[in-house]
Point group: C2
Chain length 233, copies 2
């Protein structure tokens, strides 16, 4: 019996990736919950370089960074549960990795910037960037899904997990600032995908709804406002 | 016969990764050289999101981002040339990916900051960061190499390529600012590795020496100084 632990918080989208991957593979594990604003000794010891969640601990060996954790889970349990997470074709694997990189590098920072914007102008600019990114991801979805349900075709694959972990965050940011981002008229394929992804058995049972993320975002927003006011003084 | 092209410049360390991976696998390809400060139509068409080199074009399909390109090459030509680039063991793969991520995310930016520093204070701080990073990588080397020649043990593997592509840049920055960074006394294992890596048959024949990088860095430095002066006015 493998000894699997996951250090994280339920709302963190990066931790969510590991949770979904483990759930797809039907791997049992212990969830070690971190407290917001604190770092446990185990976290500091397991990820001394970044001191960040998620960390997967498999047979006492820590694996850090969500993208690396998802690939690790796929490699250690290749045939378990719903099968492979990375597509079989090398070119598709490269595209899944590329768009996952784009989501982390460019797209999510712009989503975060929408929530963090202090002026209407900054908000409008960030909203524009988020929507431009979603249009690119809509194109990628059409190309990769080939008319099927997911980026992985018939099944939830790497990019589904890497981008799908943000679907409740998109909704929460939409509610927080009262704008539509993942709009059915502009990005119909992606809109349908997001609904299907959240209904998937490996996702549905444990993914927090957007209301919980919204509560958390309101706490963050209050903190950002306080920090910004302090910085002005 | 596969149709393989690589868009890049010979001095770019990210392009170097693709060159070394192709060389290890003994894959023949056409090198499409970009001009410094310009972007070809093919580059813009092949990497519309980032507009950056390297881009590998395999049977007319572009693959972007050096880390993704190296994994792609390993997956498409698994048995060719010197064999696998990613280690066989999933935990070792995760460590190779983690330290490669660290090199790109934290370490190389600090090496660049040494060359870019405008004051002695900024330079000293960046040098400190580079050396601290090298100490971490020394530890990682000892753990992963198990007393053998490379991060991959007996053979050049993923992290050897991802970090090794900077070895001539380290030397060039050392010469540019007259400081020792990869010091034999402090980081003996890594120092020895860097020498062995550059002597490897897949690296030696084409990797530019540090003198060529230094020339390029001097051009960059002059540009930085001009830009900084313009920003002050």
């Amino acid at each position: 019996m493998a000894d699997v632990k996951l250090i994280g918080t339920p709302l963190c989208p990066y931790v969510r990736r590991a949770i979904i991957a483990l759930s797809l593979k039907k791997v049992e594990y212990e969830f070690l919950q971190e407290k917001f604003g604190e770092k446990s000794e185990l976290l500091l010891k397991s990820n001394p370089i970044y001191k960040k969640i998620p960390v997967l601990i498999h047979n006492d060996r820590p694996i850090c960074e969500s993208a690396i954790i998802v690939e690790y889970i796929d490699e250690v349990w290749p045939e378990s549960g719903c099968g492979a997470i990375l597509p079989a074709d090398a070119y598709h694997r490269a595209l899944h990795r590329f768009w996952s990189f784009y989501v982390d590098d460019k797209w999510f920072p712009s989503l975060f910037a929408v929530g963090k914007a202090e002026t209407e102008e900054a908000k409008a600019e960030a909203v524009e960037q988020v929507r431009a990114g979603l249009l690119l991801l809509e194109e990628a979805f059409v190309k990769l899904s080939q008319g099927k349900a997911f980026f992985g075709g018939d099944r939830v694959a790497y990019l589904d997990i890497m981008f799908g972990s943000f679907t409740n965050w998109i909704e929460a940011v939409e509610e927080l600032v009262s704008v539509e981002l993942l709009d059915e008229a502009t990005t119909p394929a992606l809109h349908g995908w997001a609904v299907r992804f959240r209904e998937h058995e490996a996702v549905k049972e444990s993914m927090p709804d957007s209301g919980k993320v919204l509560e958390f975002l309101k706490i963050l927003q209050a903190k950002w406002k306080k920090d910004a006011a302090a910085a002005r003084n």
